[in-house]
Amino acid sequence: MLNVTDVSLSFGGLKALDTVSVAAAPGAVTGLIGPNGSGKSTLLNVIGGVYLPDLGKVTLNGQALPLGRPDRVAKRGVGRTFQVPKLAHRLTVFQNMLAGERDHCGESLPNLFFRPGRVARQEKEASGRASTILNRLGMYHKANDLAGSLSGGQQKLLTMGMLLMADPAVLLLDEPAAGVNPVLIEQQVAFLKTLRDEGRIVILIEHNMDMIANVCDRVYVLDAGSVIASGTPHEIRANETVIRSYLGQPANTQEV
């Protein structure tokens, strides 16, 4: 269980998050929606350890996450993707995947020279897993392409693949479907469902309401840094406040 409790964060005079509380259960997809600038990505950055909030805390299974330290939060099993995919553009797809490997013993200089066998073993084992995940994502044929040469949609898939290399308990996904073609979106939806069924905590920012309705078990709506509503996607679609601030009226029901 991931709990965000009363998190507030200001940038100068701007209150980006105002006593936000969110709970995300394992084996479920939790959606974050809201207008641009409502604080969704900021919240994900707080959970992921990039921003240190002014107030509040985030706990994972009852233990506080070391906020403000993205590397330590990641080590606790929290993985995230960014709205604009972050990749090592001048490395191949396969090398990017291998960079996702957690606690690689080959990333220590002494081990390279004094325990080469152990390094080679872990590298081989990681390569096997990277191949499996790339196959699962339908990207194995791109293994030796430079990550920077991939299309936007494929880059998003690759960042997801890199996350999975670390086998995270929590996935924070920032608009995985934005700018992705419909076929890839379907693939991603199916993939998200698999991840959910594996018992992971998935938190998803998305503007595509069909995707939200399709995969989310619970949705939080943010506006101007506050949670204005939460509930099942069905409840949210009927919520007056949400309709006013974010979803808008369907064209044919608007009063003239």
Partner: protein, 291 residues
């Protein structure tokens, strides 16, 4: 002529080690070190000061290999919260501070007159030591380059935030590769001190850092064999300028400056037409057969 060849190859080997050292920092990790001459100077001065105090050569050499990584941490750790631009400024400043300190402490470091360093027994010893050092450095750099460690260095070069969201603490990688690279450059400095027989502040100016950078940019940042080729070309240009002086009737100081100007031209041309260098970084290819 054979003496001159031995001299040239020794110089090339020493500068190749410096280029490999900068390549580990800049080419692989993206650390802009504008004070690359500093660890080299530390090595030479350790050899010189050790000798002036009457110690055997290995005392100076050991001191160099201990002080260089300590200096690297002293320079890096305060810079860790700053962006890359400041990194360049801090390393540039550190190298100048060290040089000026040596210049202004005549009692200890010889001041502007410099210090005498015992020379290698003969020029062949200098050659073998330098080539041996180059071989070890090259082996080390290649092992790092093709390893998971080198991969993470490159990820850091591309995007530090990405590395930290993958659970890596950037400074741990930056500090350990810098320490290793500075040890390498300091060893080259020790060899250079014993090879030239003399250390003085004029050997360690910003110009020398600029020459190492030219070798790396020309050869191919991120590619070990490339930067060694870059160092060979740059140093051949350097040693050949004395022949040019014999053929053309120009004052020798002008030729020395034209040599530097030609390095500047090389940098500009490379940045515009071939930023990846003569031998670009290789793509690590995954062989599906091995799965």
């Amino acid at each position: 002529m054979i003496d001159f060849a031995i001299y040239s190859v020794t110089v090339i080997a020493i500068w190749s080690v410096l280029a490999l050292s900068l390549n580990l920092q800049f080419g692989m990790t993206g650390l802009v070190n504008f004070g690359q001459i500093l660890p080299f100077a530390i090595g030479s001065y350790a050899a010189g000061i050790g000798a002036s105090l009457g110690y055997p050569w290995w005392v100076g050499a050991t001191a160099a290999l201990i002080f260089a990584p300590l200096f690297s941490l002293a320079v890096i750790l305060p810079a860790q919260r700053l962006s890359q631009d400041y990194w360049a400024l801090i390393t540039l400043g550190a190298a100048e501070i060290f040089r000026l300190t040596m210049l202004n402490t005549p009692s200890f470091a010889g001041g502007a007159d410099g210090l005498n360093v015992p020379r290698f027994g003969d020029s062949l010893t200098a050659l073998y030591v330098s080539l041996g050092l180059l071989a070890v450095s090259f082996f080390f750099a290649e092992r790092v380059s093709r390893s998971p460690f080198g991969r993470m260095l490159r990820v850091l070069r591309e995007d530090e935030v990405l590395a930290s969201t993958l659970g890596r603490n950037p400074i741990r990688y930056q500090a350990s590769i810098s320490a290793a690279a500075w040890i390498m450059a300091a060893a080259a400095g020790v060899a250079y001190g014993h090879f030239s027989g003399y250390v003085a502040p004029t050997s360690f100016t910003v110009t020398e850092t600029f020459i190492i950078w030219t070798a790396v940019i020309l050869g191919g940042p991120g590619r070990n064999i490339g930067v060694v080729c870059g160092a060979i070309i740059i140093q051949l240009l350097g040693v050949s300028s004395r022949f040019v002086a014999q053929w053309v009737d120009l004052p020798s100081d002008l030729i020395a400056n034209l040599r530097l100007a030609s390095f500047g031209l090389i940098l500009v041309v490379m940045f515009i037409y071939r930023p990846q260098g003569l031998i670009p970084e290789a793509r690590e290819v995954h062989d599906a057969e091995r799965d």
